[in-house]
């Protein structure tokens, strides 16, 4: 396999990239000047040095010194009594943009697909359990599960519940889920039954 084909293959492993676009990427690199490519290569090899995983919530953050906690986990004004468990780093970004939550987060790192018998080892289920156990000794009052409202997200909810509900129940603490109902853009005519049931239950 030629170097060009190797490069195309690596680009094909990028999320959402097919053969044709991977080839475009390789041609893009070929037309960029050497300084640009050198910088790109340097950032790719070095990014893990300057970006690290937060020890507490496991999201990635840019480390400037030797800090091990991200800006949210190290902030003094966040509410440490609540922990919102999400699938991805980008879910945290969306919540922070909304400015509606001031508690802490935990990034599970994936979902438990309903149909595939994918191993759940990549998920940080063990780390979540340990985090909940530690935080229960430090004022944790509520764990909120915030996975997608789809089969994989709901399967993940059940999986995580089975792990942490006993811990929370033993301490008489709450396990909650993000509320369901009509979301922005919803019309009754096109909403599914579950959404309508929840919209009625959560009426305000």
């Amino acid at each position: 396999m030629s170097d060009l084909d190797k490069l195309i293959t690596l680009f094909e492993s990028f999320p959402g990239i097919g053969a044709r676009q991977a080839r475009r990427f390789a041609f893009h690199v070929l037309t960029m000047n050497d300084a640009h490519n050198a910088q790109l290569a340097k950032l790719i090899t070095g990014i893990k040095t300057s970006v690290t995983e937060c020890e507490s919530c496991h999201r990635f953050f840019s480390r400037y010194q030797a800090e091990t906690l991200c800006s949210i986990c190290s902030a003094s004004n966040r509410d440490h009594s609540r922990l919102l468990v999400v699938e991805r780093d980008s879910d945290i970004q969306a919540m922070e943009r909304a400015g509606a939550y001031d508690g802490l987060y935990f990034v599970l790192g994936g979902t438990v697909p309903l149909l595939q018998s994918k191993d759940t080892e990549k998920l940080r289920a063990g780390a979540l359990k340990a985090t909940v156990e530690t935080r229960l000794k430090n004022g944790l009052e509520e764990v909120i599960l915030g996975f997608a409202i789809n089969p994989d997200g709901e399967n993940t909810t059940r999986f995580i519940e089975s792990i942490i509900e006993p811990l929370l129940a033993a301490e008489n603490k709450k396990l909650t889920h993000l509320g369901r109902g009509l979301s922005t853009g919803s019309e009754l005519e096109y909403a599914d039954g579950d959404t309508l049931k929840n919209a009625l239950k959560n009426r305000y």
Copy 2:
């Protein structure tokens, strides 16, 4: 204008139909046999005789005898203490399919667009006011507003609130709205701020 052009123009007034499809419809009529077209014409002219507007909720229903109330409004086992106001007949269908609501309905017949200065005369705002006044003397406890979660729907909500909130407040009865939050298919990453705020507020 030829008869063909007249027919095409009438089909263009059908909801969601443009010039090209209106022409297709006219050609469809041209290729159908006379018996088919006669039946279609008879149903079009006669439909208002057999389908009538419910005197109470204003949705259309097929009348078999001289009844003036639809099957929901005339059912003995519906909860008459709650009234859900919706835009369209099809919203009622969606709620009934979900099987989550056993109260009564009221079809407003449209929305109050935010940007257009469309007259609100076609809406049954006066009829809604009269219905609420009458039902308040007969055990009404709650009016639920169930319009779409978009600018027009929200503008309609404010318009209807301005009309019926005083009536309900005077009798110490509730005016509520369908609950908001994550709907089926929602992912945090793609949800807007309002939806996330509501999802957090309505967590369960």
Copy 3:
């Protein structure tokens, strides 16, 4: 079945209309005034009187008196030596809009699907054969097949060739096909092999 359901079912038979939109159409009729619906019904039942099929090309046209030929077939300045066979009336409209053709047309009325064993009886294959035979005695020099460039269109081309090629060959007249190549909007990178081959062959 109620009259409303009957009307919805008839609207569902309209080209491209599903259950939901058919229901909308029925509601549209219910909200229109009686005069509007009476006019619609009258046009539906009477359209076949005022719009008739051209005896020569078989497209529909609005008849004002007792004419049996459409404006194209009865025009004195069209080139009667060429006959373009197309699937639908709307194909003629597109050709006339382009202003590129001054010969005559024949509307086959459908295609011969490649996969379905649909009967070909609805197609005007017999009428086309008769038309070609008659026109051969009146100066016809060329029949052009103008079906879609897709499996059904190409299957139809083969079917019609089998019927009229012998007639034309016997008189030493031409059977041609609309030219293939890059169409407006085409980019080489996304063009299929056949299109590129034809583009090269038809280079000018």
Copy 4:
């Protein structure tokens, strides 16, 4: 700007990649192991050494030794009397896949946009002129222009014609264009006027 933001910005410059996907790419790199990232970086910096631009047609090819011509330009069985000028390397791939052309190519490297006053300096117009002049002394009979059938492609055609038509005319050689007409998938009803005119002109 943090290293993470720098990397995201570089990924945003990749063709067709927006802010969200660029961020995904950066996270993808963060989750890959060091060996994978080291290989990716090495290929990015080294690709220009192993992939070079063909001296004759200017497309990129993987160089194994010190060759300066790509496999097409150095093949003994290609027809050197014809030269097909295209915009991009990927256009050559499409033509070769179609297997319809056995002449030589020239990659212009871009288009002359109709509306933007973009400089044409990046295009290899000078190199094309020199190539045509040289090849005219070596049996060149025909230059085929194969740009996209859209405003930019047609503007590019006019620009290139102005440069090389005089050269070819002086030697009594041909300048041609890829043929136009119905392409695979075309239906008459939806085809534009130019395509229909060409389809009629190129009928076969």
